[in-house]
């Protein structure tokens, strides 16, 4: 126990260690942040193509989306990361952070697409019919009726996907990137503290804090979106 406390003092008393952890954490956040944005944008496009009414113009795009999500969801993330690093972007001097962002973004898009697709499909068809019967345009129905209701269904699952991406980025240490996970391993190694427990414990706390914060924000958004579900509203 004394040793543990000593190690804590050593970690927090050594600016280089703190610096490494913070740098690693920053890289983790950067990769996750941009990957999530790519995931949401691309995922939305895939979901819209997938849920659109079948027509001859969409036959090929729909097929491509199916193949894409099947491949991404059917292969390990670590393998996708390797393929990006050692095959597709095996260009000397190409910034590894960009490669990682693309790898995680393309992966997240497939899962986000499923989340958004499910959200759109779970909107009661009667809600669409109400709009149609009133003579509203499909576009008005989509933006005023389907989208707000779908978002309510999407937010909780999207929150999970964001959390998953943040945690999954830890595998970039497998291609030698210095993220939070790698920083913990490095600080704990023989050349440094020669003890893994404290740096890894601290890294875990960093991840936990970030993820707890995100869950909290998602819960708040969920709560504000639930306004119209409440039987108590306006009473």
């Amino acid at each position: 126990m004394n040793d543990f406390i000593n190690k804590i003092v050593e970690l927090f008393g050594t600016p280089e260690y703190i610096d490494s952890l913070l740098h690693g954490f920053l890289l983790t956040i950067q990769i996750a942040y941009f990957a999530i944005i790519i995931g949401i944008l691309l995922g939305t496009i895939i979901a819209l193509i997938d849920t659109a009414k079948p027509s001859k113009w969409l036959t090929v795009p729909k097929f491509i989306c199916k193949v894409y999500t099947t491949i991404i969801r059917g292969t390990p993330m670590a393998l996708q990361l390797f393929i990006m690093f050692f095959i597709i972007f095996a260009i000397k001097g190409f910034p590894s952070i960009i490669t990682a962002i693309i790898a995680f973004g393309l992966n997240s898009a497939a899962y986000t697409a499923e989340v958004i697709r499910g959200g759109i499909l779970s909107v009661d068809q009667g809600q669409v019919e109400a709009g149609l019967a009133l003579g509203l345009k499909r576009r008005t129905i989509f933006f005023k009726i389907v989208t707000p209701q779908a978002i309510k269904n999407i937010i909780p699952a999207l929150g999970n996907e964001i959390i998953t991406v943040i945690k999954e980025t830890a595998i970039v240490s497998m291609v030698g990137m210095y993220d939070l996970n790698m920083a913990a391993k490095d600080i704990g190694s023989g050349q440094n503290m020669a003890s893994y427990i404290v740096p890894m414990f601290v890294a875990a706390l960093f991840y936990l804090t970030l993820i707890y914060l995100i869950s909290f924000i998602v819960k708040q958004i969920e709560k504000s979106l639930r306004k119209s579900d409440s039987r108590m509203a306006n009473e």
Binding site: G126, A133, K137, E235
Partner: protein
Amino acid sequence: MNNNTELIVKNLHKNFGENKVLKGIDFKLIEGERVVILGPSGSGKSTFLRCLNWMEEPTSGEMYFDGELVTEKNIRRIRRNIGMVFQHFNLISNLTVMENMTLAPIKLKITKRDEAEKRAKELLRHIGLLSKADAYPASLSGGQKQRVAIVRAMMLSPEVLLFDEPTSALDPESIGDVLSLIRELAGRGMTIVIVTHEMSFAKEIATRIVFIDKGKIIEEGTPVEFFEHPKTPRVQEFLKKVL
């Protein structure tokens, strides 16, 4: 009552995949008529009603509204003149009662927002639900939802109102409220087509009864003809069971 024809349906067929639900229906609706569609469950009566405003696109056949052939191109404009009330109310759950009522008139640029809101308030006051104007549908009872759905349809001043089993999802106590609102619209000369299982209401409100079975119109006539002197054995058998 004048004799303006609102709607003509010629040889209407509707298939769901292999399943032939409507097998050649001819139908004419005159302004001011109140047609009640009866039939056993699975007869195609709801599908027929839903074909009238193309909630279900007919597989074949022709439809004319106000003399104009209904097509995929003009159906959206025509729907403004055909209000519909659904069995499950279908109030838009992310919009308040007021927004439900004013969305279409504003979006279709029929009235300005303040005019639409004024009219919505009048209608809500009339049905005793003005205090619910800013409430979301989830906080309303079934009967309240359906009455809002009816006045929402009235916001566009349609020429025809379609009712698809408007009381089937309601508790007995709310049924009376909804029926009296429909009765009131009928009294004001509204042209109505209604699918219902409320036999006494059908008898009371209808100017004509249409009986559908297995996707075809088997018999039609005035309520007196239909209920007192049914011509076909199928209707006689049906009435024996339900009355």
